[in-house]
Amino acid sequence: MDVKELIAKRVAKEFKDGDVVNLGIGLPTLVANYVPDDVEIVLHSENGFTGIGPAQSGEEIDPDLVNAGGLPVTIMPGGSFFDSAMSFAIIRGGHLDATVLGALQVDEEGNLANWMIPGKLVPGMGGAMDLVGGAKQVIVAMQHTQKGTPKILKKCDLPLTGAKKVSKIITEMGVMEVTEEGLLLVEYNPEYALDEIKAATEANLLISDNLKPMV
């Protein structure tokens, strides 16, 4: 299985029936494909609707119905449309059970940086600051390193998207929880040795007494 698919599949196990979830652009979007059949989640699209369905296919594309990445999608029965103020009232108001986002950097305090690299890349935060600040659970889903360079740090040095908001980091190497004591590895991918995972992580990685293989 592709590494991104592996991560998405593991993230999909985080949800319980009825959860309201916003999936970021890129890898997080894949998560929707792996939600178990007996779990029904409400997918929120920050450009203004609930009930994101599969991508549009066929010859006639409806340009009025796109996701936050601008791609034509569908809406499921039971969905609803609203404006951006309502969309972010949902996010900021604590009505999202979880958001899944990528990161440039994330650290052991739960700080997250994913909106700019000064002097280089300044895409902007879009809805990410609201998502990180507002969702009950902030799950970072990403590859463990950037081509070998750690992204899970002791302290982010890029401008933050949100301070101390991340609850969980899920990568192809394992699942880490942000706790009062620090970053706790609770699941690991048996394809990697623990030392290998530690070496790929700049943050101090605590190992759970109850460490399990990643499933």
Partner: protein, 215 residues
């Protein structure tokens, strides 16, 4: 009161140096025909308030590429590489704002409120220089209300009184912008007779709209 005007009459209201709100989310639900006419007219030194700067060849993106934008107050510029270039070269000022904050700032401007008290952005670079208020133990940023000389919005179905229905995900920032500008022009995909819109489906009451341009 006949609110319908031609696209030429609409564009004649736009002057160099104006502050203009433009609806749309990556050009979905944007007044793209009016923008094309603005590009042709080549008005300059505009301050644009919008969700994003779209793509180089779509909607607001064309205004940016044509060098007509002096300042952009937006949430995201990552889909238009010219925006980043102009920003880095100091040719266009870019104020990046969290999407939910921008939506509320515009709504506040249209609602007679002084600003927004939001927890989003606290502890990040966007909080620098802004007033912080502590209310019941929680810290909020004071983000000021936004207003504009002109709002250019898009409507899927607009009646002769200016009542607007937005189809699917085209609603986004349009309803708030319709409230916050001295003059509001809606680019109507379809103009219908007064009484043909179900009053429950009116998402922007006609009282906000000054002019209607048939797309």
């Amino acid at each position: 009161m006949n609110k319908q005007i031609t696209i030429e009459e609409a564009v004649s209201q736009v002057k160099d140096g104006m502050t203009i709100m433009i609806g749309g989310f990556l050009a979905c639900g944007g007044p793209n025909k009016i923008i094309d006419a603005l590009v042709a007219k080549n008005v300059r030194d505009l301050t644009i308030i919008a969700n994003d700067t779209s793509f180089v060849d779509k909607g607001i993106g064309k205004l940016v590429v044509n060098g007509q934008v002096k300042k952009a107050i937006v949430t995201h510029i990552g889909t238009n590489k010219v925006s980043g270039q102009l920003m880095n070269e100091g040719k266009m000022e870019v104020v990046l704002t969290p999407q939910g904050t921008l939506a509320e700032q515009i709504r506040s401007g249209g609602s007679g409120l002084g600003g927004v008290l939001t927890p989003i952005g606290v502890g990040t670079p966007i909080a620098e220089g802004k007033d912080h208020l502590i209310i019941d133990g929680k810290t909020y940023l004071l983000e000021k209300a936004l207003k504009a000389d002109l709002a250019l919005i898009y409507g899927s179905k607009v009646d002769e009184k200016g009542n607007v229905f937005y189809n699917e995900a085209t609603r986004n920032f349009n309803p708030m912008m319709a409230m916050a500008a001295s003059t509001v022009i809606v680019e109507a995909e379809e103009v219908v007779k007064t009484g043909e819109l179900d009053p429950h489906l009116v998402m922007t009451p006609g009282l906000f709209v000054n002019y209607i341009v048939k797309a």
